[in-house]
């Protein structure tokens, strides 16, 4: 019966101290009764090989002991959904973008790799720390909440009327469209006001000369603003995303972020001059500004890529029937609810 004793010893290890002997005595009695019955059936003493299936059927020592323990969890089912949402949000909106940025910089910036050669992964240390601390402190706070009065307050004090309205991903906020329209018109007005189509500007005693590419950029930006105005008008007349409007949004965002990227890479600043600015210092300043904008272009690409991903997701989630809703009145959505103003669901230029 050495096998049974070893089994009981293993179960005993996991049991609460105060009940160890009692539980083991009872379990031992049951196992010995089973073995006796089996021996009576077979007419001989059981071998270890014959005892083994009895113990296996009883369950692993840890599982058997676990059934005697109260069910315990660090964060119970009442708070776990909130905890899960926070952890996922932290990951997808903070830690993952951070990691992707790091990968982007490491991949596309030879200077960064050269500066940290031999200790490239050490530059990820803040990321690891952020992961560890955010997970640890969130878990700690929720575990404490779960054991405090706050839990019952959170779970029991709720009001159906205070629940957030159902989110309509395909609705275009009228306020956001009007805001966007205002910004675009204001930008156009500023471009005209400062006569941005020229290459030479005079500010505060400084003469700034831009590259010969500048006028092309301004024309491209003017065309973009015109298209933005057209799309905003379309969205005002039909405040729901359709395949057409969502695709136009994607096209405009691709165009605008591409344009900004080229703008950053184009060494736009040609020269600076001023009475109080020595020419050698002016050249240094021009070079520094052009270098800084060129090396920041990667960030433009990363942000643009995120915007484009949101745009593509928007196209994918447009219901096919939404494109047939053109006759719908602007103030009313598909299910008849009145249009409510709110923030736009995804970023775009």
């Amino acid at each position: 019966m050495a096998l049974v004793d070893r089994y009981l010893h293993a179960v005993k290890f996991w049991l609460p101290r105060s009940q160890k002997d009692d539980i083991i005595a009872e379990l031992s009695e049951d196992l010995h009764s089973q073995i006796e019955d089996r021996e009576a059936e077979l007419g001989h003493k059981l071998t270890d090989a014959e005892v083994e299936p009895i113990l296996k059927r009883c369950g692993s020592p840890m599982a058997v002991a676990g059934r005697y323990l109260p069910q315990r969890s660090l964060i119970g089912p009442a708070l776990f959904p909130i905890y899960s949402v926070i952890i996922r949000s932290l990951f997808f909106f903070f830690l993952l973008p951070w990691l992707l940025l790091w990968i982007g910089i490491v991949t596309f910036s030879p200077d960064f790799r050269a500066d940290h050669s031999g200790a490239l992964f050490a530059t990820l240390e803040p990321w690891w720390l952020a992961c560890t601390y955010s997970l640890f402190f969130n878990t700690l706070v929720f575990a404490l909440l779960d054991r405090s009065q706050a839990r019952s307050h959170l779970v029991n004090n709720w009001n159906p009327r205070a629940l957030p309205a159902e989110r309509d991903h395909n609705r275009i906020s009228r306020n956001a469209t009007i805001f966007q329209l205002t910004v675009v018109v204001a930008t156009l007005a500023i471009l005209v006001q400062v006569d941005a189509f020229h290459r030479v500007f005079h500010f505060f005693g400084l003469t700034i000369t831009l590259s010969h590419l500048w006028p092309y950029f301004i024309w491209a930006m003017t065309a973009l603003n015109g298209a933005e105005i057209a799309l905003a008008c379309l969205n005002l007349s039909q405040p729901r995303w359709t395949r057409l409007s969502a695709s136009l949004r994607l096209g405009l965002d691709l165009y605008s972020w591409g344009l900004i990227y080229l703008l950053f890479r184009a060494n736009l600043l040609q020269s600076l001059s001023g009475n109080d600015l020595p020419s050698t210092q002016a050249v240094k300043l021009v070079n520094s500004i052009n270098f800084w904008t060129a090396s920041s272009a990667i960030w433009v690409l990363v942000i643009g890529a995120v915007v484009v991903v949101f745009d593509v997701l928007r196209i994918l989630r447009v219901e096919p029937r939404a494109s047939t809703m053109s006759a719908e009145t602007p103030a009313e959505s598909i299910d008849g609810r009145r249009e409510r103003d709110g923030p736009r669901d995804t970023p775009h230029v």
């Binding site: 009940q19 539980i23 005595a25 009872e26 379990l27 009695e29 049951d30 196992l31 010995h32 009764s33 089973q34 059927r57 009883c58 369950g59 599982a63 058997v64 059934r67 005697y68």
Partner: protein, 114 residues
């Protein structure tokens, strides 16, 4: 194609079956302990009535019911071995009566639904 009911014996059925039986176990145990039993004979008697229950489930259940005051237990020697005998307490008898009424009501409701 969905499986036919004759061959339907996957994990989903097994999980639901166990859940159904698990809910009835305390009632079966309380009812059986109107007469005194120790763990092993209680298990055998329940199995004979078609309510097989493994030791890993029965003993923690007995302990819980005893903590709730529905059972009383006593260690006694029988056949040269110490055994823990369980029987229904006075509170247990009252609760069992109420549970049986509840169970009959559930049974009748289900019959009505079916």
């Amino acid at each position: 194609m969905p499986p036919s009911t004759e061959t339907f014996s996957d994990d989903r059925f097994e999980n639901l079956r166990q859940e159904l039986r698990r809910g009835s176990l305390p009632l079966a145990v309380l009812a059986e302990l109107r007469t005194e039993h120790y763990g092993y004979t209680l298990r055998k008697t329940l199995a004979d009535h078609g309510m097989a229950i493994d030791e890993g489930t029965l003993y923690p259940l007995l302990r819980r019911l005893e903590t709730q005051g529905l059972l009383v237990s006593q260690w006694r020697e029988e056949d040269k071995r110490n055994k823990r005998f369980y029987r229904l307490s006075a509170d247990g008898k009252l609760i069992l009566k109420q549970l049986l009424i509840e169970w009959k009501s559930i049974h009748a409701s289900l019959e009505d639904i079916f």
